[in-house]
């Protein structure tokens, strides 16, 4: 195994799960997330010289995976639009509950706009700071801050409503 491949293998081992979690939390479809993340890592390896020099290679993978998922969704959307009444009106496909993740948290995430989900996912699973998150998503740092504040506020509110009431005595 070449040094380059060893370096990629180490990167893959260290980051693949977090990248999958971030993409899964963003798009809500486990299988699609796995496909997109695996393909994104393959592309990272195909361009490893460039990607390894990236300030945050994990963010490169995430952004590629999210772009792939958008492309995939767009192609499906076009296909459905031919003669289907149940097509979504637009926006991101709804997050469905997953058999292996708490459907409550997925439902709450589904209630967030896509950008907020992405910002939260990058912050939670990749522990990126505001600047890196902004770079990964191609948006302004101030926008990241605003999205994160709104998202955490919404999550807190949802969790508060979702929490079972406790009665003393």
């Amino acid at each position: 195994m070449s040094a380059q491949q060893a370096s990629f293998a180490e990167f893959y081992a260290q980051t693949r799960d977090d990248c999958l979690r971030a993409v899964f939390a963003s798009i809500g479809d486990r299988q699609a997330a796995e496909d997109c993340v695996a393909e994104a890592f393959a592309r990272a390896w195909a361009s490893w010289r460039k990607v390894s020099a990236h300030p945050v290679p994990r963010a490169w993978v995430i952004r590629t995976a999210l772009n792939l998922s958008v492309s995939s969704w767009r192609s499906r959307r076009r296909e459905v639009a031919v003669g289907e009444l149940t097509e979504p009106r637009g926006g991101w496909p709804p997050i469905s509950g997953s058999q292996d993740t708490d459907s409550g948290i997925m439902t709450i995430l589904a209630g967030l706009p896509l950008r907020q989900r992405q910002v939260v996912a990058l912050r939670v699973f990749l522990d990126l700071d505001t600047a890196a998150t902004a770079q990964a998503l191609g948006i302004a740092p101030g926008t990241v801050t605003a999205h994160l504040a709104r998202a955490t506020s919404a999550l807190r509110e949802q969790l508060t409503h979702a929490a079972p009431e406790e009665h003393d005595g």
Partner: protein, 238 residues
């Protein structure tokens, strides 16, 4: 716990814990192999925008067919389907519930053959090839989204042919509940067919809007060499 008292850090930490068991299973070897394919494709001479897709397919075929005898394995992931060779020799084939292009269908056949599965991919059963009365019809599942088969090419008997039937698609209204995946088993091949593992067991859900389309689902048909339709299958090129 009163969630209103959660700090941002605690809130995000809670989320992190919810996803702790989500792990990516793809082995690094598969990812590296796929990356190599992409590199080779990139290295293919630029044939112009109009032939770009053709070049990509040719490059993929080249990469799948290059170097060495016997199955090389494959890791191809498209919107419509995926073929992945696993280290234990199993080949997973996932066909997603969406229209196929003819090009993708042909590419699927090549990917499967590169993975060692003696497969042809067709839009329908070959003419003159009908399951005999002895053929057992096994309903795998009603499902939505996509279906994955696990094939073990190393355990298939010599001369056996796996025919993937992906019907030509006309998008129309319909209900997903009326569709199903079937494995058709030729009478003389019962033992062999059982070696095709866990057919249709693993189901993947796609977003709900994809479920109600009236798309016919793919089928896998396994023929033994003596089957009357074998000749037709061989001659009926895609």
């Amino acid at each position: 716990m009163d969630n209103s008292d959660l700090s941002d850090d605690a809130l995000l930490e809670g989320m992190r814990n919810e996803f702790a068991h989500v792990r990516l299973g793809a082995p690094v070897e598969d990812v590296v192999a796929r990356g190599r394919q992409l590199r080779r494709r990139r290295a293919w001479p630029v044939l112009g925008a109009g032939t770009g897709t053709v070049a990509a397919v040719v490059a993929l075929t080249f990469s799948l067919a290059a170097s060495g005898a016997g199955p090389r394995g494959a890791h191809v992931v498209l919107d419509a389907w995926s073929v992945t060779s696993k280290p234990d020799g199993t080949v997973s084939l996932t066909i997603r519930d969406q229209p196929e292009s003819g090009q993708d269908r042909a590419r699927l056949g090549r990917a499967l053959r590169a993975a060692g599965v003696p497969a042809v991919v067709r839009t329908g059963l070959p003419s003159g090839c009908h399951p005999s009365v002895e053929v057992r019809r096994i309903k795998i599942s009603r499902h939505r989204g996509a279906v994955t088969w696990y094939l073990r090419p190393g355990k298939l008997a010599h001369g056996i042919r796996v025919v993937i039937v992906i019907p030509a698609v006309t998008v129309s209204r319909g209900t997903g509940s009326g569709r199903r995946v079937e494995l058709w088993e030729a009478p003389g091949a019962a033992r062999r067919v059982h070696e095709i593992e866990r057919a249709g067991r693993k189901l993947h859900g796609l977003p709900g809007h994809a479920n109600a389309r009236g798309l016919p689902l793919p089928q896998i048909v396994v023929y033994v060499p003596s089957a009357v339709c074998m000749w037709t299958v061989q001659q009926g090129s895609r």
